[in-house]
Structure formats: C-alpha cells, structure tokens
Amino acid sequence: MPYFYVDIDCTVIKMTKFLQIYVRYTYEIASYIMKEKTEEGGKRVKDSEITELYWQRSCEAIRQSDSKYGSYCMKIAENILHSREDSEECVSDTWLNAWNSIPPKRPDNLKLFFAKLTRNLAFSSYRINSAAKRGGGELTVVLDELSECIAAKSNVERDYEYAELGQCINAFVRLLPERECNIFVRRYFFTESVEEISERYNIKESNVYVILSRTREKLRRYLKKEWYFDEQ
C-alpha cells in the first residue's frame, strides 16, 4: 500500500514537473517569436483575446501573457523576493497557475489576476527562502510594519478565516481617502519601497512615511473594532 501512495505522489510530481518544463519551453520559444514579431511592428493582443486563448487551450496564451505582462509580474515578484532567478521562476509558475485556472475562471482584469497569482507565489517562495535564512529585502520591512497593526499579545484572538480577513482589509481600504488608499495599496499589496511610491505619486518620501504610519494606525484601530484582536 505505501508504494501505491508514493507512486501516485511521484506521478503527480513528474506530471507537474513535465507541465512546468513544457510551459517554460513553450513560452521561451514564444518570447523569441514575439520579439521577432514586435520588431516587425506586431501589435499586442487585447486581454479578452488572451483569456480566449487560455479557454481554447492554446499555448499562444502563455506567449501573449508573458509578452504583455511578463515584466509587470517580474517587478511584483522582485519586490518580494529580491532575486532575479527566483522571480523568473515565480513568473513562469504564474503562467502555469493561470493555465490551470483558466478555464474555468474568466478574469475581469487579467493584469491584476496575474498580479495576485505572482504575489501569492512569490510570497510562498519567500516563506520557504526565509525558513532557509535567505529572506530579507523590502518584504521583511513591510511585514515588520504590518506587525504594528496587530497586538503583540492577545487576550481573545479570533482565528478568522483567510477570506474573512481579506474582506475586512478590502472594506478598510475602501474607507480610506483615495490618495492614502493608493499609497497603502502600493506598499502592502505591491510591496513597493517608499522611494518608489514617492516617485509614483510625486510626493516627498517623508509624506509617504507619515501617510503609511497614520494609515497603519487606522488599520490597527479598525481591526481592533472588528474584534480581530483584543489589546492587553
């Protein structure tokens, strides 16, 4: 019996590896073709067309995704991982995950669908790396900042489901004024540095720090109000 389980696991691992290699190989060739095409003045396809390619199970979907959003996803991954090599792997895993989820999914916003996949994958990779003491970079600072929003010790801590906490965060950012919301999202979703945020919105770094600090305080109060934690 144990052999049976091992065998199944091995098969699954082999199949996953095969699919990973297949996807990577396909998009490497595709990237090359795309480069040629762009040099000829080829036009990028629309998001809806890329989604349709996934639905048709066409490998062109991976090629177009990488061509259009490869560098965008790479930036998200690099903000978290601070390693070119790890980030490249993470982005190719993004296309693999997208391939596995479309269909049945049909994302309304393909760019942000990829962004969320990349963020999740990069964060998982970060956790593995930090366990092996290879962590660090912007995310370490970001996590440190977020720890201000939660109590050091909890008397009554509700172990909320991930989705419930997600809804709470979503409701919180919707309450924020537009500028604060944007800055907060750039820092804690996209893991951008204060310098990058300052450049993006053309405001001083000191202002970004102040806005982030105040908004974290608001979040701390909001979470407390929603009974995510109880202060001592």
Binding site: F123, L143, C168, I169, N170, E178, Y201
Partner: protein, 319 residues
C-alpha cells in the same frame, strides 16, 4: 494573527482599487511648463485678445488632481473651462506675523473650491489642521480637502464646500480660521498644539455660472442587493454637465447605489468621478428611499466628447 497572514489577506483587495493605484502622477515641474506652454499657445491663437490667466494656484492644483486620477495632462479646452469658472480673490490678513491669503476659488454647479496660502509660521514635521470654517450662504458647508507644505515653508490649504442647488449667480462665502491648532497623531494619543492665536476672517463673493446640461432619458440599470442578487432600478432626472453626473432614483432601503461611476469618452478612455455625494430619504413604514446622487469629476471634461455613463455594471449611452 501574524503579520504574514495580514499581508496575505491584502490579496483580497478588489481589482478596481488596485487598478486605481497604478496611475502615476507626473512631475509638477513638467506640468507647470506644459500649462504655461499651453497658455502661451492659446494666447498666440487669440492674437491680441486677453491671455489665458495662469495663477499657478488653484488651476495648478486641479491639474495635479486630474493628473493623479486620470494619468493625463489637462487639455487646453479643459484649462479654458477651469479658467472661466475660477476667480482670483487675493485677500490677505496678518496677525502676529502670520499672513493668511485667500488666493482663488473655483465654483462648479454645486461645489466651490477655495485655495488659501498661509505663511510666516513654523510647521511641525507631522500635522493635521483644525479650526477652519467655510460658510456658504450662511451655512457651514466647507471641508478641508488638501494641505500641502511647500519648500519655502508656506502652507497651501484647499477647502471644498458643497451648497444647495441655487439659481443665484452670486454666492456669499465667509471663511474663518481660528487659532492654528495642529493635531499630531501618535500611536495611542493625539496631541493638539496651538501654533498661533487669532481669528482670520474673510468675506467674499463667488460667481456661479450656468452649465450646459445634457439630459438623458430615464434608464433602468442593474445593481446588486445585499445578497449579491441583481435588481433593476430606474434612474430618473439624469443630467451630465462638464463637471459631473447627477441622477435620482427610488430604491429599497437596504440597497446602496453603486459608488463607481465612470464617464466613457468617444476615444474609449474612462474618467472616474473623484468626488461624490448623495442623499437618501425614506418615510416611516416605507421600504424604499428616494436618492439624489451627484458625482463630480476631478476636472471639467469636454461634454461633446462624452459617449456613455457607466454606473456599476450598467452602461448608459449618451445620445
């Protein structure tokens, strides 16, 4: 709960919020150059007529807001509209070396924006401001909208106020600033520091223009109720002007009007409202409420180029 769990939960933020944060704000210096260039071009086109005024104040601020929300520079036509709706007030008062100047104001259909400059005061590193009141036609309506500290330690304060629907061309405004109090936010306590004592009082008139309105026939749209089910509601008195969209509707007490309103232009670009207000009233024992909604754009738009209004998931074509 760990910070890692909290960080992961940020993945649930809605796409529209994430998308909005992608827009970059272009450098102000470049913007000024472009605005001045556009103003000069316009002056040259008019050949001898009065040049388009460029105050570098409120118009510049509106241009910056526009750039922040749309990612684009203002067009010459938009600048022209802002110019026609703006007036220079330039009234100053000095108390104990602190000079407050009401620089300029822009009046829209039912909102006014006033830019104030304060100089002669040392500002703490972190601050928020208290003690400012703007009365419109005798009623306190103003709200602090933006505070900018300039490099030469000048404080730019922008106040926005809404007012009741009026036919009057002249609107009486009264601005008072009492004791500059700065609230400094700490992790657990808020410190309130009195920086300067005194009352800076200003009275001025604001001129309100009539706006060209496009009336859109009553239209049914889909909105989601609290259970996520789609319901159809009828929008009436839909009007589009160069500065915003308004409509009325009668809906169930438990339903909220979608807070996302966009204007779709003929070139396919989308303009999101930047400031919205609405009121809903319902009588006792009646399960519906009468809502009057008004959404304003970050800067005036060219009404002729508007193709459709998107409210939630429904699109209303502008004929």
């Amino acid at each position: 709960m760990s910070s890692e769990k909290l960080y992961s939960a940020f993945n649930e933020i809605d796409d529209d919020i994430l998308e909005r944060s992608e827009k970059r704000v272009k450098r102000h210096v470049k913007h000024r150059v472009m605005l001045i260039a556009a103003a000069i071009c316009f002056a040259v086109l008019l050949m001898g007529a009065a040049t388009v005024g460029f105050s570098g104040g409120l118009q510049d601020w509106i241009a910056n807001r526009w750039s922040f929300t749309s990612g684009n520079e203002l067009s010459t036509e938009q600048m022209e509209i802002i110019e026609s709706l703006s007036c220079k007030i330039n009234e100053s008062k000095t108390i104990d070396g602190i000079t407050v100047t009401v620089d300029s104001a822009t009046v829209y259909d039912r909102t006014a924006t006033v830019l104030i400059r304060v100089c002669g005061m040392e500002l703490p590193k972190e601050y928020d401001i208290d003690g400012i009141k703007l009365k419109i036609n005798g009623e306190t309506r103003g709200a602090l909208y933006d505070v900018i500290k300039t490099e030469n330690n000048e404080l730019i304060i922008v106040i926005k106020a809404d007012f009741e629907d009026t036919e009057d061309e002249l609107i009486k405004a009264e601005l008072s600033m009492t004791d500059f109090i700065f609230s400094r936010y700490g992790v657990t306590v808020t410190k309130r520091d009195v920086i300067a004592k005194g009352t800076w009082l200003f009275e001025f008139d604001l001129k309100r223009d009539e706006f060209q309105k496009i009336s859109i026939p009553d239209t049914e749209i889909d909105i989601a109720n609290e259970n996520g089910e789609t319901e159809r509601i009828l929008l009436t008195n839909i009007h589009l002007t160069s500065i915003g969209v308004e409509f009325e509707c009668e809906i169930d007490k438990n339903i909220d009007i979608p807070q996302k309103v966009y204007l779709i232009m003929t070139d396919g670009s989308k303009i999101e409202y930047s400031n919205g207000s609405g009121s809903g009233e319902s009588a006792e024992n009646i399960n519906t409420k009468q809502c009057k909604m008004y959404f304003e754009f970050a800067a005036p738009i060219e009404i002729e180029d508007a193709a459709a209004i998107q409210i939630g998931s429904s699109t209303i074509q502008i004929i």
